[in-house]
């Protein structure tokens, strides 16, 4: 079956611009996660959704970052007033929930010039 799909695969934008990153989870997976991965590092947790609600957003670095999942499926990560330090690969994962393994998409590589 189809895995986690993320679009776009690459995004280049200028400092100060607004960006939206999209995640289509595996069908039927109720849990959805966003992580950020910098070069040479492991993924770092940003936010977790169970259904439509953000159950844990403790990893969002500041109020420029926001994520939604209005219908409990597709999720969008939104970054306002982008900064060069936001450059990274943004990974999305989904799972059936609980302690079931999280399955990752291939990420969006975000570059802020």
């Amino acid at each position: 079956g189809a895995g986690v799909s993320q679009t776009p695969s690459n995004k280049v934008t200028e400092k100060g611009k607004y960006v939206e990153l999209r995640c289509d989870p595996i069908s039927g997976h109720t849990a959805l996660y966003w992580y950020r991965q910098s070069l040479g590092q492991g993924p770092e947790f940003l936010i977790y959704f169970q259904g439509t609600g953000a159950a844990d957003d403790s990893g969002l670095p500041n109020d420029r970052f926001f994520a939604v999942r209005p219908e409990g499926s597709v999720s969008t990560l939104k970054i306002q007033r982008t900064e060069r330090g936001d450059s990274a690969v943004y990974l999305c994962a989904s799972s059936p929930g609980g302690d079931q393994p999280q399955h990752f998409g291939d990420g969006t590589r975000l570059s802020i010039l």
């Binding site: 986690v4 849990a31 996660y33 992580y35 040479g40 590092q41 492991g42 993924p43 770092e44 947790f45 977790y48 169970q50 159950a55 844990d56 403790s58 990893g59 990974l91 994962a93 302690d99 393994p101 999280q102 399955h103 990752f104 998409g105 291939d106 990420g107």
Partner: protein, 112 residues
């Protein structure tokens, strides 16, 4: 604070040369320990979940083991296609038990 440390940072093996990767963790309560493989430009690919000390899981040339303080990923007679970064992550019982805390990974290169 939950913490995961992986060693070595990088490992180069000849084809057929077996070795082990280490993942040390500090967590107040372990819900699960996960191993992932990541190829360049790709997302992490799930390999194993371990839940309690003494547990072992195997898949082809890989075997993962777990103690109360660390996990090992044993690679037997590796092939060049096993070259990748191997990531270890923990899921803790006290931090909403959903998020994964990752180590920085071990970059494995297997030469023919």
């Amino acid at each position: 604070e939950d913490q995961v440390t992986q060693s070595p940072e990088a490992l180069r093996l000849q084809e057929g040369e077996s070795s082990s990767l280490n993942c040390s963790y500090t967590v107040s309560g372990l819900r699960g320990l996960f191993w992932y493989r990541q190829d360049p430009g790709k997302g992490p690919e799930f390999l194993f979940t371990l839940y309690s000390a003494g547990e072992e899981k195997e898949k082809e040339r890989l075997k993962a083991t777990l103690t109360k303080k660390e996990s090992f990923l044993h690679i037997t007679a590796p092939k060049p296609e096993d070259s990748a970064t191997y990531l270890c992550a923990v899921q803790a019982t006290d931090t909403g038990f959903q998020k994964l805390v990752f180590g920085t990974g071990t970059r494995l290169l297997v030469s023919p």
